[in-house]
């Protein structure tokens, strides 16, 4: 998954340098912060075939794509993953696997190495078995640690991605120690972003400012420890910034995501915006989807901007923030991202932040990502 903080020092020159293939939305875990759509179970029958994915790989390279992420859902649930990695390597991509670790057996790991896979990003939620298992809704902790050590033993560069929220943010020291022990190359402590399942559960997941400050201090101390080999990223939630994130480095500039059903998306969450059409690779070439489709043209550049973005001297820096967040929290995707303190809707962010620190907070249960947990039939949709 592409994130804020991704190190891109290339202007894409209009090319989709980052291609993310969401091979499936199926997943054995039930994470309460999952960023897959709420109706993820509607996509199973529409998943692209091996040949269709291969066509996307070829057309993506022709458009200049360089970095390739195999994501999901859980991409290990696709039996053709090794075949797709091999094809991607042949075409010259730098291949990244983004996985929960479930299904990554020693045999498949070896096969992926043989196919040429370059890098694995594994997710972990805590340094503690019962906490991880509770957070993902499955007995996964021990397996994840085992997989992490296996990945290093196989000689892969590895990113350990830890989604951070109120329930695990106080564990940063323990997680740092565990990551060092495993021999992780990059540790990414990324505060989650609030879309889909995470937004449903936001009031319970958003940490307090004090928690974030303590976690950040622990990260800074770890970075300064002599002999520190690990690169440590710490992404704070945009709710606690006064300027929005430069979401996707701008709409339709370098990021191209293909959803399991073949829809070409400027970002993984964009289907939350109502009133847009999402054409797929089944009807169109990738070239047309990227360069000419109304979806990709919709928020490219700054023509669409309203005030305060239009005349803002930082619009080249953050592109007005996230269109999905603007839609979800203000009802209009052309509004300034309310994470920006200049937004007339910034109070909706402040309210969420204040709620996180309420002394007499009445706890509510978390909604797990699973079929039947919610119904989406009454939402005006798709």
């Amino acid at each position: 998954m592409a994130k804020d903080g991704s190190a891109v020092s290339l202007d894409g020159q209009g090319k989709p340098m980052w291609l993310v293939l969401e091979l499936t939305y199926r997943c054995p875990l039930k994470c309460v912060w999952c960023n897959n759509p709420l109706d993820f179970d509607q996509y199973g029958k529409k998943e692209l075939s091996t040949e269709e994915w291969k066509r996307i790989l070829r057309e993506g390279r022709e458009l200049g794509a360089l970095q390739l992420g195999f994501s999901g859902g859980e991409p290990m649930l696709r039996d053709d993953l090794e075949e797709l990695v091999e094809e991607a390597e042949r075409l010259g991509y730098y291949t990244n696997l983004i996985t929960s670790g479930v299904g990554l057996t020693p045999e498949r790991l070896k096969a992926l190495k043989q196919a040429g896979l370059k890098q694995i990003q594994l997710s972990l939620q805590s340094a503690n078995r019962s906490l991880t298992d509770e957070l993902v809704g499955a007995r996964a902790h021990d397996l994840k640690i085992e997989v992490a050590r296996m990945i290093k033993a196989e000689g892969f560069p590895m990113v350990l991605n830890v989604p951070v929220f109120r329930q695990n943010i106080d564990q940063v020291d323990e997680i740092l120690a565990l990551a060092e022990d495993i021999g992780v190359d990059y540790l990414e402590l990324a505060n989650i972003q609030y879309y889909n399942w995470a937004l449903l559960n936001r009031d319970e997941l958003l940490p307090t400012r004090e928690q974030i400050e303590r976690a950040e201090a622990a990260v800074i101390a770890a970075r300064q420890r002599p002999g520190q080999q690990m690169t440590i990223y710490f992404v704070i939630p945009d709710y606690y910034e006064t300027r929005p994130k430069a979401c996707m480095n701008g709409w339709g500039t370098i990021h191209l995501t293909i959803a399991p059903d073949g829809a070409a998306l400027p970002c993984q969450e964009v289907r939350v915006i109502e009133g847009l059409e999402f054409p797929t690779v089944r009807e169109h070439s990738l070239d047309w989807l990227w360069n000419d489709s109304p979806l990709f043209k919709k928020f490219r550049g700054d023509e669409w901007m309203k005030e305060p973005c239009r005349t803002c001297d930082e619009k080249e820096k953050d592109f007005g923030g996230c269109r999905c967040q603007a839609f979800l929290l203000t009802g209009d995707a052309t509004n300034t991202d309310p994470a920006c303190a200049k937004s007339p809707h910034h109070h909706v962010i402040e309210m969420a932040v204040n709620k996180a620190r309420e002394k007499h907070h009445v706890p509510r249960p978390l909604v797990r990502r699973q079929i039947g947990a919610v119904t989406t039939v009454f939402m005006e949709h798709k």
């Binding site: 360089l66 890098q119 690169t231």
Partner: protein, 94 residues
């Protein structure tokens, strides 16, 4: 990763195994690829990193670059500087 690291002429810098250096036609340039990142290299940077194989000494890299870019007399210093900066970024090892 400290700033006061210095390469000696006899050191043999090598690209860290997390990094992949290759020519990219669509960018008309060498690029450095690594987990979640891409860096487009200018000609000098590319010529230096191509030689960071663990077999060539820093002194030889500097000599070869000097021959390649004859109009830049002060290139030797900037090559050592480049090696030190990229070492700090984790691109190369000693």
């Amino acid at each position: 990763m400290s700033g006061d690291f210095h390469f000696q002429p006899e050191d043999r810098p090598r690209l860290d195994s997390k990094y992949l250096l290759r020519w990219e036609k669509s960018q008309d340039a060498y690029v450095l690829l690594y987990p979640e990142g891409v860096i487009k290299l200018n000609a000098t940077a590319a010529e230096i990193l191509k030689r960071c194989t663990g077999e060539t000494t820093a002194a030889n890299i500097a000599a070869e670059l000097k021959a390649l870019f004859v109009d830049n007399a002060d290139i030797e210093n900037s090559i050592y500087k480049f090696l030190e900066v990229t070492h700090g970024k984790g691109w190369i090892r000693r």
